[in-house]
């Protein structure tokens, strides 16, 4: 069997800078268990991730991880999050210092989920003070709370928006909110409820970045639903998207109607939302529940999935990506500063094939989240329940296959 790599526990608080070999993963350990991971979306220069911890007994923290790609060094900042254990974290797409969390409000007899917006304290600048052991507190901007609705398990920022609209996903409903410019005030603008027999609960939601962000997709039990935010009505649904519970969703950033879903049946499926009777593609490489699925923001043939089988798998779904034959339009990628050389021979590319590109085995517990960096399209972070963050890269060979 697999002999686990044992990391000196003393170094868990420090950055791990394993081997200087280029493709080696960088591992960072938190002292608490954790589920919440996000890239710092508004940050496009530095590779930064935010991780929220889960502990019922101690004060929870948010770790801001900064990865220095050139030197292969990790820097981190820790902020206290005293309101409770963090179940979900999301970063504002506009202001890199604003983030939203969903956390557990626990009393002896009750445990409720709440959501709030936070600001990372300004005087605390990244990388300057990593020796400090005392953690600074996050600055509360506002709580997303309403008298009649409670239990919010995730906050979705409007993609590509002004950072003034969020959605909170609750157990049987989701709410839309407007924020004021500073983010200190949130007003609920709408609510949509899930109507079905039993007590249906949402398990995931995802805001569609296309069509002016007027659509979101939600998952409850085995089905996926699409909602129009203008009317707050359900517009379509996929009844049995997975054999078991659907855990996560993601929209293809480059193809308007393409949606990925993953779930407890160990499968990742790709859907065309216009034609939902059959999935476009099914991946079943994981051996346990798939907890997250993410398209690469730049090269949507790269799909990252993480699972409670402790694996993160990078798959190529070239056949249904926006670049099924490589780059057909010259200069399409020229916006991305690190891909200028890619358009030279873009026309002559052989079609890429579907299939697993890499399976990352650095985790030893269930991996509940994996996120692409918003700054480096070839880099991603994954977080397992035992608090281990692993930063990995797309294998070089695959990278060159896509670029050249």
């Amino acid at each position: 069997m697999l002999v686990q790599l044992f990391h000196n526990e003393k170094s868990l608080r420090h950055l791990h800078n394993n081997i200087m070999e280029d493709d080696a993963p960088v591992i960072y350990g938190l002292e608490f268990q954790a589920r919440a991971l996000t890239a710092q979306v508004a940050e496009t220069d530095d590779i930064r991730f935010l991780v929220g911890t889960q502990s019922l007994k101690f004060d929870n923290q948010i770790h801001q991880i900064d990865f220095d790609d050139e030197n292969n060094i990790l820097n981190k900042n820790v902020f206290a999050h005293k309101d409770g254990e963090i179940w979900h974290i999301s970063a504002s797409p506009v202001d890199k210092n604003i983030l939203a969390t969903c956390f557990n409000n626990v009393s002896d007899t009750k445990c409720e989920m709440a959501a709030a917006l936070w600001r990372i304290p300004a005087e605390f600048d990244v990388g300057l003070d990593d020796t400090s052991s005392s953690s600074h507190s996050l600055q509360l901007l506002c709580r997303l709370e309403h008298d009649s609705y409670s239990n919010m398990f995730s906050v979705l920022w409007q993609p590509n928006g002004e950072g003034d609209k969020v959605i909170t996903m609750g157990e049987g409903r989701f709410l839309t909110w407007d924020l004021n410019a500073s983010g200190t005030q949130a007003t609920m603008t709408g609510v949509a409820s899930l109507e079905a027999k039993g007590q249906p609960k949402f398990t995931a939601g995802r805001w569609n970045p296309h069509s002016n962000a007027t659509q979101i997709a939600t998952a409850n039990d085995t089905s996926i639903r699409l909602w129009d935010l203008r009317s707050m009505e359900q517009v379509s649904n996929i009844d049995v998207a997975h054999m078991q519970c659907v855990r996560n969703l993601d929209f293809n950033p480059n193809k308007q109607y393409y949606l990925a879903s993953c779930g407890d049946d160990c499968k990742t499926k790709f859907w065309d939302t216009r034609k939902t009777d059959e999935p476009l593609l099914v991946l079943s490489d994981h051996s346990h529940w798939v907890w997250s699925v993410r398209f690469n923001h730049f090269h949507d043939q790269l799909v990252l999935t993480s699972s409670s089988d402790s694996r993160v798998i990078l798959t190529s779904v070239a056949s249904i990506s926006s670049e099924p034959l490589g780059h057909l339009v010259e200069g399409e990628e020229s916006d991305d500063d690190d891909q200028d050389d890619s358009s030279r021979d873009g026309q002559k590319r052989a079609p890429q094939t579907n299939g697993v590109l890499a399976s990352y085995e650095e985790h030893e517990d269930s991996v509940y989240a994996a996120e692409w960096s918003t700054a480096d399209p070839w880099l991603f972070a994954s977080l397992s329940y035992d608090g281990r963050v692993v930063i990995n890269r797309v294998p070089r060979a695959e990278k060159y296959k896509i670029l050249l």
């Binding site: 044992f6 350990g29 626990v106 445990c111 051996s287 030893e364």
Partner: protein, 798 residues
């Protein structure tokens, strides 16, 4: 001379006689030549022919003494005397003979004189006769010439009479329908008529007879067109018409047209049969027919009758047509210079004619053969095909430029192909029926409500019966198909049919295709997206075992059976047994994996619902094991019995003495162990993640949905792994109060008590349960564990 007298008295007589002969001979000069050879030395031989007395005397005088000479002299005197007496006796002896000879000669002289007279008389008589005869012939000469002339005139007149009577005769002949006679007459007369046609009377006759012959021709033509006329009549007609110098080409056409009429009738009969069988046309009710009897004339025929009818009536007639056509138009003795050309044209016409008709015939036969779907047994069909094929082979020799046998064999191949496809379909149907049966019998006990054990008792029986049914079905199909290559079947001996049929059709098209079908059906069950995804898990288990059994022997048995029965050489390019086995092994694996994940899912769902729906913060102190845990153990036990019927136990990891003690009542060890493990997660422990990492370092990574082996424990281990992992993930999503945690402690302990026995490695169960409890401890607001003895007590009670 002395010598002979010296000799004994007995020989003396003979010597003397021979001497006398010798003398007679010398007298008549007979031995002259021989004596000469004696040479000069015989000059001294006193008996020799050339004896010379002087020489002899001289010799005696020279050689002999006086006494000897004296003796010689006396001896000679004696000899001379005896010689004289001998001479006398001779003369006496022969004297009488001379006398009689002289008498005879004298008599003869007299006789000849009389004869001479008579001869003279004869000569004169003869002279008289000659004179008379000359006289008579001279008088009769005139009369004879006249008679000769008269005879010639008579003959001519006869001929003329024939000619004049010809029209009447012809008419009469025609009236009497003895056309052959008429033609003969006409042919006889025609030459003459042609020669003398310048004479008006003859011309009249010719015109008359021509008219009559024309009539005759039309009559013949009529007869020709009359479809009731028999083949023999026809050929007679044609023969006559040909004699009458009708153009052969036209006749060919006419003849063929006529034959076509007849053959078309047969063909339409066949077509009617085909339609009747295909249901395009229904049998007419007797009331609808003009004559009720017709109903019995066209009853639907079975295939054998059909082919018999086709080959006897149609092929028989077409053969007849070909034969008579060949006789009439092709093999006719050459009369014209351009006969070769017409011959060729005639032949071509025939071939075209036959081809079109045969094409039609083939199409009907094939249609009819294709209709033969329902019967399970092939023998009739094969016999029909054989007859069809044989008949065609016979035809081949009749018409050299065609290859109907080949076309026939092609049809046979196609029919055989159709049959194979039909059987394949039947096999598929049978297999899906089998599956339906299995599903029904799997579902039945549950409806009746029999205990689970009784319902699953017959799993292995079900499997056996399904396997036997499938194999039997294949065997019966194979034996049915063997009819196609039976020894007495002619087309079975054609290599291009046989190879194709045995290899491509039977082995690949039927056997391999059917096995592939089983494989595909099984795979469909694995694909959860298809309609069959809802198959009961027991069916999956059964199918997986079926695939294993197939892989373990049935495939090679069946394929070898095919190879044997159809005598296939092993070196051909065919799907190998190993590749088939490999496919089946994979299928079995997939089915079993699917079974495990489905059963795991069912138990997972139970556990998930039980964890999700409970408020773990506000629960009371545990008194019992939750019912769902008992249900889980029951279900797993049921699965265990189910799997146990089809799969062997499998290998377990050696149980440590520690664990056996743990299971058999001595709980102190486990209690200590538990306490020591779970004690780590007390709130005071800061380094809990460190501890859990250390713990994980020493445990193995667990593949949850991994491939299982074909054994009971492996299957059960798979199911339990999935269930417990789900349990853990659900626990991690909840927050527990003190009693919530304790309830979980009780539940996991209960599971630990019962689940170890099902798995390959009980440490695995312990590890997963420990994980669950430690996760719950993490998720607990007030983590106080229950006293182990209480846990034991509760579990014992529950």
């Amino acid at each position: 001379m002395e010598n002979s007298y010296d000799k004994a008295g007995a020989t003396e007589e003979t010597t003397r006689r021979s001497d006398r002969h010798g003398m007679l001979k010398s007298y008549y000069g007979m031995e002259k030549g021989a004596m000469k050879e004696a040479g000069a030395q015989e000059g001294v031989d006193i008996n020799g022919l050339y004896f010379k007395p002087d020489l002899y005397i001289e010799k005696l005088l020279k050689e002999k003494s006086l006494t000897e000479l004296m003796d010689k002299e006396s001896e000679m005197v004696k000899q001379i005397r005896s010689l004289d007496s001998d001479m006398q006796t001779l003369v006496y002896e022969n004297y009488n003979k001379f006398i009689s000879a002289t008498d005879t000669i004298r008599k003869m002289k007299n006789d000849f004189k009389r004869m001479e007279d008579e001869m003279d008389r004869l000569a004169t008589n003869m002279e008289a006769i000659t004179e008379f005869s000359g006289h008579i012939s001279g008088t009769l000469q005139d009369r004879r010439q006249q008679i000769q002339k008269l005879a010639g005139v008579h003959a001519l007149l006869k001929k003329l009479q024939f000619l004049f009577e010809l029209p009447a005769r012809l008419k009469k002949c025609i009236e009497m329908e003895s056309y052959a006679q008429a033609v003969r007459y006409y042919m006889k007369a025609q030459k003459v008529l042609l020669q003398y046609q310048h004479m008006p009377s003859f011309q009249g006759i010719q015109e008359d007879s021509d008219a009559i012959v024309k009539e005759l021709k039309t009559k013949l033509r009529q007869c020709f067109r009359n479809k009731n006329s028999s083949q023999q009549e026809l050929s007679e007609c044609v023969d006559l018409l040909l004699q009458l110098n009708e153009p052969a080409g036209e006749l060919c056409d006419d003849y063929l047209a006529h034959s076509k009429q007849m053959l078309d009738e047969y063909l339409s009969q066949l077509e009617y049969q085909v339609k009747l069988n295909s249901g395009e046309e229904r049998l007419k009710l007797p009331s609808e027919l003009d004559r009720p009897a017709e109903a019995y004339m066209n009853p639907p025929m079975d295939i054998l009758e059909f082919v018999d009818c086709g080959s006897n009536v149609f092929i028989g007639n077409i053969c007849l047509v070909i034969a008579s056509y060949t006789d009439m138009f092709i093999n006719r003795t050459t009369r014209d210079e351009d006969w070769d050309a017409t011959n060729e044209i005639a032949h071509k016409k025939l071939v075209n004619f036959v081809m079109t008709l045969m094409d039609q015939y083939f199409s009907y036969v094939e249609k009819r053969m294709q209709l033969e779907k329902e019967t399970g047994d092939n023998t009739i069909l094969v016999r029909a095909l054989d007859r069809f094929h044989r008949r065609l082979q016979a035809m081949n020799s009749l018409l050299p430029d065609t290859d109907f046998a080949r076309i026939g064999t092609d049809i046979v191949s196609r029919v055989a192909h159709g049959r194979v496809m039909h059987y394949l379909q039947a096999l598929k149907q049978h297999f899906s029926d089998c599956l339906t049966d299995i599903r029904q019998s799997l579902a039945a006990p549950r409806i009746v409500g029999k205990p689970e054990g009784a319902g699953s008792n017959n799993l292995s029986e079900l499997l056996m019966s399904a396997e036997v049914a499938v194999v039997d079905q294949i065997k019966s199909v194979l034996s049915n198909l063997q009819a196609f290559i039976a020894l007495d079947i002619t087309f079975a001996m054609k290599p291009y049919f046989r190879n194709e049929f045995c290899t491509v059709e039977v082995r690949e098209g039927l056997m391999v295709a059917f096995l592939q079908h089983i494989h595909h059906t099984a795979m469909e069950f694995c694909d959860s997206m298809s309609d069959r995804g809802s198959a009961p898990p027991t069916l999956l288990l059964l199918l997986s075992r079926l695939c294993i059994d197939f892989e373990n022997g049935t495939i090679s048995y069946l394929v070898n059976l095919v190879d044997d029965q159809f005598m296939l050489a092993s070196n051909q390019q065919v799907t190998s047994i190993t590749s088939l086995c490999h496919t089946f092994k994979e299928t079995a694996q997939k089915l079993l994996n699917h079974y495990v994940s489905m059963q795991g899912l069912i138990i997972s769902q139970m556990l998930r619902k039980s964890v999700e729906t409970r408020d773990w913060l506000n629960t009371i102190e545990p008194r019992n094991v939750r019912a769902v845990m008992k249900r889980v153990v029951e279900d797993i036990t049921a699965i265990d019995t189910q799997v146990g019927q089809l799969y062997e136990e499998g290998v377990r990891k050696e149980r440590s003495s520690d664990s056996s003690r743990r299971t058999f009542g001595n709980f102190s060890m486990s209690r200590q162990q538990q306490r020591s493990q779970w004690g780590r997660y007390t709130p005071s422990t800061i380094d809990n993640s460190l501890m859990s990492n250390i713990q994980k370092l020493f445990s193995e990574k667990i593949e949850i949905f991994s491939t299982v082996e074909f054994s009971k424990v492996s299957v059960l281990t798979g199911i339990i792994k999935i269930s417990l992992k789900t349990f853990m993930e659900c626990v991690r999503l909840r927050t527990f109060g003190r009693y919530g945690l304790q309830q979980l402690q009780v539940d996991t302990h209960y599971l630990q008590l019962y689940l170890w026995r099902f798995v390959t490695d009980e440490n695995l169960v312990h590890f997963l349960l420990d994980e669950i409890v430690s996760s719950a401890v993490h998720r607990c607001l007030n983590a106080v564990m229950m006293e182990s003895s209480v846990v034991d007590l509760i579990c014992d009670r529950g």
